[in-house]
């Protein structure tokens, strides 16, 4: 993780807050991660963990108001995106960094043809004429495996199936050969068989184009299949940051372990699936200490009082948990404290 030259994107202490009537929600609360050229980073978490907000923050697409990037930096090829003008950002969006979304059904504009929506991005960023852009859009549709692309390009989204629409979204996102592709739950809304096809497509195209991918998902299985490294998010923070393979064989954080235990696995003889007790804390009312402490089977007094830092515990693993700190042995038990 130290080959700095290969780093295309580096996020440092990113904070995205939402200011609403109910109070301030720290949806993304100081996260840091990096992305190397051509690799795939998975960001895993339950809904409400801040993973989608993270992805939108990278392109500065947070609806404002009520949202606002409150701090940190997003270094893309060494330059901080947070200091760029809106105009500079526009030339990056869809061009150098592009994004595909969870809902292929609603993410395409219903009143324009698929080809037009792809060609629009090409015209914008590559300054091509109408005809050339259209031809390139058709090429892209062929590339993402849509049969008879000339015909499909002229069709409107309502004439396409869900899987087909997600292919259109991918074609649109990759049309300008971006260096980073952010895929926000690209397969969640699709049928299982289509899911596998779409993931395979992303993987193939990633190799062909050399694109680095950030894959946002709640599905650990998808991470195992596609990612090199993974960041597990909980309540706006990264709790574990490690290699994708590592997380299955040697998970560290109690939350990651909980997630894995709630996953049906074919390679193990499971008696029953376990669930993590309790619920994600309200973003308006975060616990003082570790945000997972109220649900953690190992929590001690220290967990409720202070937030643990994300720190390296191995060559490629970082965890934010008091259990992996020297303080752990000295800490007294939460239950005991309550008992007194």
């Amino acid at each position: 993780m130290n080959q700095d030259a290969d780093k295309i994107l580096e996020v440092k202490n990113l904070q995205t807050h939402f200011f609403t009537d109910e109070g301030t929600s720290k949806a993304v609360n100081g996260i840091s991660f990096s992305l190397n050229k051509g690799e795939t980073l998975g960001i895993v978490g339950e809904s409400g963990s801040g993973k989608s907000i993270t992805s939108l923050s990278l392109l500065r697409l947070i609806p404002s108001p009520p949202g606002k990037i409150a701090g940190g930096s997003i270094l893309f090829k060494g330059e901080d995106l947070l200091t760029k003008s809106e105009k500079q950002m526009r030339s990056i969006r869809g061009n150098e960094i592009s994004m595909i979304f969870q809902e292929p059904m609603t993410s395409l504009n219903p009143v324009y043809s698929a080809g037009e929506q792809i060609a629009e991005a090409i015209r914008l960023h590559q300054k091509l004429g109408k005809k050339e852009a259209w031809d390139k859009a058709v090429d892209m549709l062929r590339l993402v495996g849509i049969p008879s692309p000339e015909k499909r390009a002229k069709q409107e989204p309502h004439e396409l199936s869900g899987g087909m629409r997600q292919r259109v979204m991918i074609a649109m996102a990759l049309a300008c050969h971006p260096e980073v592709l952010i895929a926000d739950e690209p397969t969640t809304a699709l049928d299982v068989t289509i899911q596998a096809q779409i993931l395979e497509l992303i993987k193939t195209l990633q190799k062909d184009f050399g694109t680095a991918v950030i894959l946002i998902t709640h599905d650990l299985g998808v991470v195992y299949e596609t990612c090199d490294r993974v960041a597990v998010m909980y309540a706006g923070k990264i709790v574990e940051y490690t290699l994708a393979k590592e997380i299955f064989t040697n998970p560290k954080h109690p939350y990651t372990i909980g997630l894995l235990n709630s996953l049906p696995r074919l390679d193990m003889d499971q008696e029953e699936l376990t669930t993590i007790p309790g619920t994600v804390p309200s973003p308006y009312n975060m616990p003082k200490g570790c945000s997972f402490a109220p649900r953690c089977p190992h929590a001690k007094g220290i967990c409720e009082q202070a937030v643990p830092d994300l720190q390296a515990i191995g060559p490629s693993t970082e965890v934010s948990c008091w259990m992996f700190t020297p303080q752990w042995e000295k800490a007294y038990d939460a239950q005991e404290k309550v008992g007194i």
């Binding site: 030339s91 592009s98 993410s107 914008l124 309502h158």
Partner: protein
Amino acid sequence: MFVFIIRRVLQTIPVLLGVSLVVFLIMQMVPGDPATLLAGEGATKETIESLRHELGLDRPILYQYVDYVLHAVQGDFGESLRSSRPVLDEIMVRLPITLELALASIFITVVLGMIAGIISATKQYSAADISIMIVALLGISLPSFWLGLMLIYFFSVNLHLFPVSGWGTFSHMILPAITLGAGGAAIVARMTRSSMLEVVRQDYIRTARAKGLKEYIIIYKHGLKNALIPVITVVGLQFGALLGGTVLTESVFAINGLGRLIVDAIRTRDLPMVQGGVLIASVIFVFMNLAVDVLYRYFNKRIDLN
């Protein structure tokens, strides 16, 4: 689509029959006997009786209704009690004027309403938005007949810019069209605004942003077209309110249209005329609604699917 149109046209038949039945029944509620009224004062009992028979009033009410509908379908709405001319003839003289007024007003409703709504939505919470929304609130609250009188007072009586009343030239049309169209424009503006605000929250707008498009292209290319689809329905409904509103506007500006014909007919108790006028105005509205439905369906087919 073709099937939809056929089905929708067939659906209007019971509605039209219902409308004619309501109009017919309302006229049955009128106290007094039309034959006595028609025969005039001092008519003998025999004259009235024979007139009743002639008019078919001695037959069962259902028979009378069927008879009424069969005649109406052929364009026979009876004769005016006052002028003794066929009702349809009188209406056809007045109808073009009312339609002209209605079209001019719908133009104001649509153009003014949409422009104001778009400005409001794109500049949400700005001074322009707030003033447009306040004016729109006033627009739906002002009685059109009062607005008409005040416009006459300022622009015709004081400034002599437009004629006080009458119909015929373009300048005759302006004040009545504003009077009649203002309320609708206010409603369309409110609708356009909320529809635009709804649309800019949609996923495909986020997609457009992620593409790196400029904000005004996002709004006008990706937002507007979608936002205007629900507005079509409102415009259709406004056409009905507008058609009814001609009654008041024509009265204020002394325009000899269908609305004024109906009001005068009510005053002189010329029942066949009221019946015919209300029925024809309703039939126009029913067909207008049909057109709007088909149009809406055409634009909405893409959205309705999810």
